[in-house]
Subunit: 256 residues, 2 copies
DNA sequence: GAGTGGTCTAGACCACCAC
DNA sequence: TGGTGGTCTAGACCACTCT
């Protein structure tokens, strides 16, 4: 795996080494979870300084291909399977079968999944959620905060904000909201859901977001701010921070 | 702007310098297009080695906050204004007023914009476009390839693929497709548009994509693969590569 | 020619991990 | 204890830009 560096090339040595290792990853010579050659191994294999070897490894890390563990080595990052979110994933027919939207998505993809509870209880509504709910920023709402993990990969961290008069006294206040998820409970309260709006954006993740999704520092996250609309009011806002490489979103637009 | 480095802190010195400069950018002490302190200035200001100063600058560059010009300096990158793409942006009523979808978007945002022609003519359909058009990969279609720039910022590069029987002999084959854009021409051909589907994903940009959008190496791009559906066939596929920080997508989903 | 960023080397100290 | 990654220094050569 060595010595194929061309010092006369235009391409920098550290890039050539990175290219080499990247090819090894793409071609499966290094599989997910495998350890890459150590820095000192790269130093002797390519006869470069340690700084140069490290720069090569830094390139791969910044591309999200690898992660390092202090004192152990540099390892190939596995890629989560792509989940496709269909535009009908909130259709009432799915809820009628006792399934939540997330269950529907995961079953469609044929994946095992878990939901990790993070927070459940009263809390202040952040400005953007409050605005969509017609409340004041900081006003108290019911908050459901959880992380979704599939096949060992963290996929998304979601936080739902529900007005107190909608959530109070219902199973929404428990971790298991019952068959059909919280939207089924909301409708049982007499708030017939009419439509959902989703605001999709991509931005650099904060440290805590990247941490929760096991993404490298500097990576971008995919954010969906979803609002559930009943007849004449918004009854829930869900702020979802997602691993972008784990999702593909599918929408239908009318030609109207 | 100097000397506030705490060598006893847990945070690495290069991170502290990066934090410092980042704050300066966020607080407007360095504005878009301004030159940051040079490497040698950082070396003397913070009394660190040049390598450490460079690492600090590398952090900012990887965050997309700065770009460097060899022999000139490191400059603050401007951020394009965010454009909000509404779910009704392909509504027929906009076309009736002689406006293309892009015109509608830009007017809503109140931005000056230009369209740069890149390619116009016959070409092979890539696999994903062909599949959605019901063609074989590589089959000849009409290709419209252009770049959209607003206020000096490249926003997106879009490539449309139109089956030959739809495009032939129409103004679609010219750079200016006429009032209402190509969708108006397609409907004049008797293909009444029923709906659009959009497949949204985020992935690392290729070098040419990042180049076209003036994004730093390693950045992610936002991709929308849009298919225009007439009564019983797809009549256009548009592959759009976008600067993620320049867009916010807005969709409506039925509760059905 | 002076100043800038781009690359590379050689050597050092530290913290963490596994044996 | 030896190997691993994380940080930092001092010094070098190069290519590019501006004057």
């Amino acid at each position: 795996m060595s010595g194929t560096i061309d010092p006369t090339s235009d391409r920098a040595v550290y890039q050539q080494i990175a290219d080499h290792l990247r090819d090894g990853i793409r071609q499966g010579r290094y599989g997910a979870g495998d350890r890459l050659p150590s820095e000192s191994e790269l130093v002797s294999a390519y006869t470069v300084s340690r700084v140069t070897a490290r720069r090569a490894l830094a390139v791969l890390a910044s591309e999200g291909l690898t992660y390092s563990e202090h004192g152990r080595g540099v390892f190939v990052r596995g890629r989560p399977p792509v989940r496709r979110l269909a535009s009908d994933r909130f259709a009432r027919r799915h809820r009628r079968q006792g399934k939540s939207a997330f269950d529907v998505e995961m079953e469609t993809a044929g994946l095992k999944h878990e939901v990790e509870p993070l927070k459940l209880g009263l809390g202040p509504a952040p400005a953007d959620a409050a605005e969509r709910l017609g409340l004041h920023a900081g006003q108290e709402v019911f908050v459901r905060h959880r992380r979704y993990v599939a096949e060992g990969y963290p996929l998304e961290v979601a936080t739902s904000y529900i007005p107190l008069d909608v959530a109070s006294g219902t199973q929404i206040e428990e971790w298991n909201p019952g068959p059909g998820g919280i939207y089924a409970r909301i409708e049982e309260q007499g708030h017939k859901l009419q439509r959902f709006t989703e605001e999709v954006s991509v931005r650099p993740g904060t440290n805590s977001e990247l941490n929760a999704l096991s993404l490298p520092t500097g990576a971008s996250i995919l954010r969906i701010l979803r609002t559930a609309h009943a007849k004449d009011r918004a009854v829930e806002v869900c702020d979802t921070i997602m691993n972008p490489s784990a999702f593909e979103l599918y929408y239908e637009l009318p030609a109207r």
